[in-house]
Assembly symmetry: D2
Homo-oligomer: 304 residues x 4
Amino acid sequence: MVEASWRYVLEWMQMPLEGHLHGIRKIIYSGKTKFQQVDIVDSYSFGKCLFLDGKLQSSEYDEWIYHESLVHPAMVTHPNPRNVVIIGGGEGATAREVLRYPTVERVVMVDIDGELVELCRSYMPEWNMGVFDDPRFELVISEGRSFIEESREVFDVAILDLTDPIPGTPSVFLYTKEFYELIKRKLSSNGVMVTQATSLRYSFETFAKIRNAVAAAFPLARPYTAPVVSFLSFCGFVIGSMGRDPLSLSSEDINARLKTLRGELQFYSECTHRFLFQLPRKFREALDAIKEVPTDSNPAFIPL
Amino acid sequence: MVEASWRYVLEWMQMPLEGHLHGIRKIIYSGKTKFQQVDIVDSYSFGKCLFLDGKLQSSEYDEWIYHESLVHPAMVTHPNPRNVVIIGGGEGATAREVLRYPTVERVVMVDIDGELVELCRSYMPEWNMGVFDDPRFELVISEGRSFIEESREVFDVAILDLTDPIPGTPSVFLYTKEFYELIKRKLSSNGVMVTQATSLRYSFETFAKIRNAVAAAFPLARPYTAPVVSFLSFCGFVIGSMGRDPLSLSSEDINARLKTLRGELQFYSECTHRFLFQLPRKFREALDAIKEVPTDSNPAFIPL
Amino acid sequence: MVEASWRYVLEWMQMPLEGHLHGIRKIIYSGKTKFQQVDIVDSYSFGKCLFLDGKLQSSEYDEWIYHESLVHPAMVTHPNPRNVVIIGGGEGATAREVLRYPTVERVVMVDIDGELVELCRSYMPEWNMGVFDDPRFELVISEGRSFIEESREVFDVAILDLTDPIPGTPSVFLYTKEFYELIKRKLSSNGVMVTQATSLRYSFETFAKIRNAVAAAFPLARPYTAPVVSFLSFCGFVIGSMGRDPLSLSSEDINARLKTLRGELQFYSECTHRFLFQLPRKFREALDAIKEVPTDSNPAFIPL
Amino acid sequence: MVEASWRYVLEWMQMPLEGHLHGIRKIIYSGKTKFQQVDIVDSYSFGKCLFLDGKLQSSEYDEWIYHESLVHPAMVTHPNPRNVVIIGGGEGATAREVLRYPTVERVVMVDIDGELVELCRSYMPEWNMGVFDDPRFELVISEGRSFIEESREVFDVAILDLTDPIPGTPSVFLYTKEFYELIKRKLSSNGVMVTQATSLRYSFETFAKIRNAVAAAFPLARPYTAPVVSFLSFCGFVIGSMGRDPLSLSSEDINARLKTLRGELQFYSECTHRFLFQLPRKFREALDAIKEVPTDSNPAFIPL
C-alpha cells in the first residue's frame, strides 16, 4: 500500500445497507451554499470529485461518460440545433459538450445555485474547459422551472442535468408531467428534450416514472442508460422528442453529425448510440409494468 | 429505511483507499476450502453474491453481463465451436453460456477447487441452471495449467475464467506468455482463446500486460471491456485468435449465430459486440504505452 | 499487518454518526431466536463477543469489568445475601459473580430467551464457568416482570442485567417506577436492587431517568458508572436500597466481605468501589437537572 | 436520526482489523505541518477532536481524563514542584493542569511542531484555557531530546506528553532507557518523571517495555492506567521517581495537596489516584512477563 488514508467520504448508496468508502487524498473545498453542502475532493477512488449533500455528482474518472451520454443522443436527434437551454449543469461540462456543435448559436444554462457554479468554475476547470468564456454561452442564476415559465425564447434542445428528486428539494418539480409540458411549449418544431433519470439500480421505479411523465407530455419518449461506474450503476436518461426518433437515426446520419463536432469524443459514437438504447428484456418488461405518471400533485421521489 | 443492517462485507477495492460496504441480509455459506475463503451471502447491494477471499466474484445482479461478455465474443469468433475447455468458472455460469450453442458437443470445465464447485452447485443454482447435469458437460478438478499440459484433446475455444493474478496464488501462472503458448498448441486451426483480464480501473497496467502476453503468443490479440458495476469498474478481457478477427465479423454473421442459440441473452447482441471492442482513445493510447510482456519468470500481478 | 479481514460487524453507536468496525476472525454462531438476532463472533477487536440485534452485549476482553461492576456493589451492600434473583443475564456471567458469595443459597436467573441462554451455554463457556451446573442455581425461562409479579419468594438482592430500553422491546417496562416498586415488594428488609442503566455517553438522559425511577421507588438510590471500553463509554448503573447505603460502607467492611469470596476478582476492590460512585461534578449536575421519572405510561427509551 | 452525515474520519485502531468511524459535523482545520497531518474536527462522536496523522490525540469529551491522569499523579508525588518541563503537549492542556499548582514558578513546554502549537492555540482554546499567556509559561519549539541534552536547568517534574512511538517518527527515541537517564540527570533530588505509555489494549507489550525502560533508569518505576474511552482503551502511563513512591502517599497527603490547586478537577482525586495504580492481576502478571528494555539501538514501537 502506497499511501495511508483515514479521511473518507462514506457515500451511502442506501443507508445503512450499502456504502461506498472513498479515501480522500485532499479536501479541495468543503462548505455550504445557500442550497447544499458542497465537497470537492481529490479521492483515491475517482480522482477529483464533486459531492453535493454527500452524493457523488461527477468524477474526473468518468464524468465524460455521463456528460456525453446525456448530451449527444438528444443533440444528434435534432437535425439542426441552434438554441439550447440547460437546466442545472453547474459543473459546466454539459455546456462543454453542447458547444462542440458548430450549429449552436446560443446556450443558456440556468442553475439555481450561483455559489456552486462559481465553485465549479474555480475548482473544476477540467470540467468546464473554458465554456464560461464562450461568447455563445449565457449563465442565468435562477430556479429552472420559473425560468422556463417566464422565458420568451424558443429552444431547439432542452437538457435537464439535475440532482435527483430527493423529497424536499427543488428538483422534485422538475420531474413532473406538468414541467415537461411546459418545456414542450418552449421548443421548436423538431424540439428535443432529455433528462437524467436517476439510477437503474437504486431507483428503477423512479426511472420508469420519469419515462412515463415524459411519455405523457411528448409525442415520443425514449429511455436509455449508460454505465457510470462512479455511480455504481447504469444511469438512466429519457429523451422526449417532438420530431425525430433517436432509434431511427441511421449510422450514416450519426457519423456525419459527429464529424462536424469540435474536439474528440471519448465515449459516444454511432455504435455507443445504439448500445445505450438497448435495454435487456427483463428491464424493458419491468419498466413497462410501472404505470404511474408523476405530476405536480403526486411527484416521483428517489427512495432514501 | 425498511431494514436495519449491521453485518457487512467491507470489500476493499484498494485497501485502505477505497471500499465497498455491502450490508448482509443473510449469510448463506461462510467457510474455507483448501484454497480460499468462500462467503456466499444475500446482500442488500447486489442480491446473492459469491466472495472469494473477500473479493466479489459474481453477483446475481449482473453476473450475466460478465458471463455473456466473457463467452460470446470468443464463441461467435469461432465459426463452428464443438469442443470447449473452461479453466476456472466454478459457478457454472460460463459453462451455461457455452452450452447455449447447438454446435457444442463437449465442454470440459477444469477448476482447482472441488469444494468451491460443490458449494456453487448447492447454493447458487441460479448461476449454473443445471449445467452440471448436461451430458455434454464434464467437470475435472485439477490445476488448470497441468491439465492443459497433459491433455491430448484438441479444443476449438478455450475460456479462462480465473481469479485475478494475486501474488502467491496459483492464478499467477495462468496469465503468462508461456501459458498462452501452451493453450495455442492445444487449439484447432480456427481456435480462439479468451481470458478475463482484471479491471480497467484498479489494474489497468495488468490488463495491458495480459494483452501483451496474448499478443506475444497468438497471431491476433483483441482487448475489450464490459461494464460490470458490481466490480465498480469496466472489466477487461482479451481474445487471442488463430483464425478470425472478432472485429471483422459482420452484423449479419453475428445475428445469424445468435439466432441459433438456446435461450435468450440479456446483454450480448451484435450491437453490444461492437460496443465492447470500442475503447476510448485515451485508454487505447495508455494501453499501447505499456510494453511489458508477462512471462513465467516475470509474471503480472494485480496491485494490492 | 498480520491478517486480512473483510467480514465486519459495523456496530452503529449512533447511526449513521458513529460506528465501530469490528473485523471478524470467525463467525461462531449467527442466527435468530424468537426474540432477537444473535451473533457470536471471534473479533479482532475484543476477542469473543456476543452481539444482540447488532449491539455488542459482552466481550471476552472486558466482560469482567461489566459483570463485577454490576454485581459486587449491590452484593456487598447487603449484609448477608442468601436468595438472589437475576433478570436477564443470559451469558451466565452475572450468576457466576453472585455464586462467589458463600452466603448465597439460591440464585434464580429469569431470562426471556431460552434459545439465547442455550447458545451462551454452548458457545460461551468462558462466561458462565459452569454455573448452569451449580446446585444453588435455577434457570427460569420467562418474561421477567411477570415472573416477579407471580413469584412468592422473598429475595435479598435483585440484579437487572437487561438489554437497553429500545422502543418496542420487552425491556422497556423493566425500567419504570412501577416495576421497581414491584421488585421492592419482593425484597427482604435489607434488600438491595441494582440495574444496568445504559451508557453515560450515548444515553445520559436515559441514565438519569432510570436513576429517578429507582429513587421514586426506593428509600435510597445511588447511581454509579464503570469504564467498559468495548461499549465505548462508561456504563451506567443504579442501586436501590432498602437498608444500607453503598457510600457508607467502610473499607474494612468491604475488604472483609471480599475475603470470603470464592475465586479472585479482577476489577472490583474496595478502592474500585469508591471510584465507581465518584461522578465528576459536571455529570452530577447534569444528572440532577433531569427530573423526569419513567413510568409504565411514559417509559424511558434510549435514543436511536 | 436528527442529522445526516457522510464525511467521516475512519480511525484505524488496527488496520484493517478494527476501526472507529467518526461522523464529522464540521471540519475546523485540515492541513499538513512540517511534521504531520493535522485535522481538527467537530465530530458527532466526541465533539471537538484533534487528529494527528489520522489518530485521535485528544477530544473535548474526555481530554480531561487523559490530562488529569497524566499530570497529577506525578505532581503530587513531588513534595514541592517549582520548575516543570513538558515535552510535547501541543494542545496546552498538560500545561493547564501543571499551572494549577501554586508552588509552580515556571513551566517550559518543548514541542517539535510550532505550527501545531499555533493551530491548537487558535482552534482549541477549551484545551489551553489561556496558558499561553501565563507569565510562568514558556514555549520552546525544539526537538525534545536535544532540548533536554542542552538544557542547563534543573527540573522538579518532567512530563512526557508524546505521540506514540510509531516507526520512523521522532517520538521513538523519547521512549528509551538512554533518554530516561538523560532526563534523570536534569531532575532535582526528589525529581519525578511521567510519560504516557500507549494503550493497554492495542500495544500492551509497548506499555510493558516503556515501564522496563523507566525502571532501568530510575530508582522507582510505577505503571498505571486510566480509562480514556475516546482511545477505545485504558491508556498506559509510567512514573519514574527519584524520591517518593506514588503508592505510599497517604489520603491525607493527596487531599491536602489538591486543596491548594487553582480551579476544580473533574476526574482526579485521592480515590482516583489509588484506582489508577491498581492493575488487575492478569495484567500485572503479563506486564512482568515482558523483560525487554528499549534502548536507542533497540527501541520500542507500537504495532501498526
